[in-house]
């Protein structure tokens, strides 16, 4: 159900979701605005991430395996040194553009740091808490409500799809060729209709329990100020590193 959540007992896990979301967002902004030439700054950010991962008791292997999701984007960056313009350097007989090399580094470093920070957030916060956190950060309720429904009904939907597939296979359907895709496509349509009808029934059931267009809010308490201070350590430290690197350079 929650492939990105890693249930552990740690101080990071215990923090309220909204402070973690804010910290990761601010950290990512600092990383993104850092000039690409500040190599020491990026080294510092990596150290910060490693520190938080240690505190959260998230193993490096677990993080790195899931970080491979960025590979398709990084592959694009590999092309840049060959296609870039301007000053060029020779390396192992290849003529590479300096500007392109920096461009590739820029994508790789910032992308990886962003992905690692997001993974840490996901590893330490359940889906339900993430939505609660977004809600408390005043994310529009339409969006948080849609996410809440998705969280509840995705399994029901997958079950529906699985049963329909088994029923198709039971009647001798053996999809091996492209022209057999029609039954699958019709199945997707049927699934859509079923979901639509379920939506209507869920809405009726909600009305019957006094729903009047607004979700009752106020489940749980807000994060105490101390948690905001603790979690701000990450973006503040990152900003400090960025400034220090800029001054030294």
């Amino acid at each position: 159900m929650e492939p990105l959540y890693l249930a552990r007992e740690s101080r990071v896990h215990r923090l309220s979701p909204e402070v973690k979301i804010a910290a990761v967002l601010l950290f990512t902004i600092v990383v993104v605005v850092t000039p690409r030439e500040d190599l020491t700054a990026f080294a510092g950010y990596t150290l910060l991430i490693a520190l938080v991962a240690g505190l959260a008791r998230v193993p490096a292997g677990w993080l790195l395996k899931r970080a491979t999701i960025e590979l398709p984007f990084v592959l694009l960056a590999v092309v840049l040194p060959f296609t870039g313009h301007g000053e060029r350097v020779d390396w192992l007989g290849l003529s590479l553009s300096v500007d392109g090399l920096y461009g590739a580094w820029n994508i790789f470093a910032k992308g990886t740091l962003g992905v690692l920070a997001s993974l840490l957030l996901a590893a330490t916060t359940s889906m339900r808490d993430l939505i609660l956190g977004l809600d408390r950060l005043r994310c529009p309720t339409v969006i948080t409500q849609i996410m809440t429904f998705m969280l509840r009904y995705i399994d029901v939907l997958i079950d529906d799809a699985r049963r329909m597939r088994i029923a198709r296979l039971s009647r001798g359907y053996d999809p091996r060729f492209l022209w057999q895709v029609k039954a699958f496509a019709v199945g997707v349509g049927a699934l859509f209709l079923r979901s639509y009808e379920r939506g209507e029934r869920v809405y009726l059931a909600m009305l019957s329990r006094g729903y009047s267009g607004r979700m009752p809010s106020g489940s749980g308490s807000k994060a105490p100020a101390a948690e905001w201070v603790v979690s701000s350590a990450l973006p503040v430290a990152a900003a400090g590193i960025a400034v220090a690197a800029a001054v030294l350079a």
């Binding site: 379920r198 059931a205 909600m206």
Partner: protein, 251 residues
Amino acid sequence: MTAALKITGLTFAYPDGREALHGVDLTLAPGERVALLGPNGAGKTTLVLHLNGILHGGAGRVEISGLPVTPGDRKAITEIRRRVGVVFQDPDDQLFMPTVAEDVAFGPANLGVRGDELDHRVTEALTAVGMLEHRDQIPHHLSFGQRRRVAVATVLAMRPEILVLDEPSSNLDPASRRELAEIIMSLPVTVLMVTHDLPYALELCPRSVILDAGRIVADAPTGELLADGDRMAAHRLELPFGFDPSAIHRR
């Protein structure tokens, strides 16, 4: 004494012209448990959706403990929806929140209940259906019978005066079916139970009514009604094979 539920001359036609109710009259005394029987398409669900003002627009009148159902009046309709707890057939339609406790809290929260009182309501309702230890679970991870019981709790948390159950025994295994019966009988509320499960009606409800083609066509003690073979057959009602209602001693 004011009737728990009083329906007089209720008619309803769907926007596509299909007429569903043709003048329904039905009165339930407080604390009564009544089974609403009838073939598919008789208008049972349509009738249920009139009890809390979700469907309206035809002639007639519905009163819940003396309070008329007036769909235009938002405040009154909220009170009506508190008094009438509808448990729908598919618990997956009823349970839409990510955890059991949040779902049970949804109804009372809509009524403005907050904080400790809300917690108390959730605990009370889940205890009544024996599901307290599952309060933080995801509904999808519960068995079908457990989900049906939680669906009952979501309505109990609103402290209703009438519990309306749509096919409460459908898709339940015999043990879950019996557990639910025990829960329903332990509740101090008026019950209107829509069902095709005639032995269940006989077990739970001393009185039954038959709705057919949008009208109440029979209203009698359940045992008597089930024993009247001709009347049953006239309304497409059939007892399970080998079931003899006269052989059962009333509890």
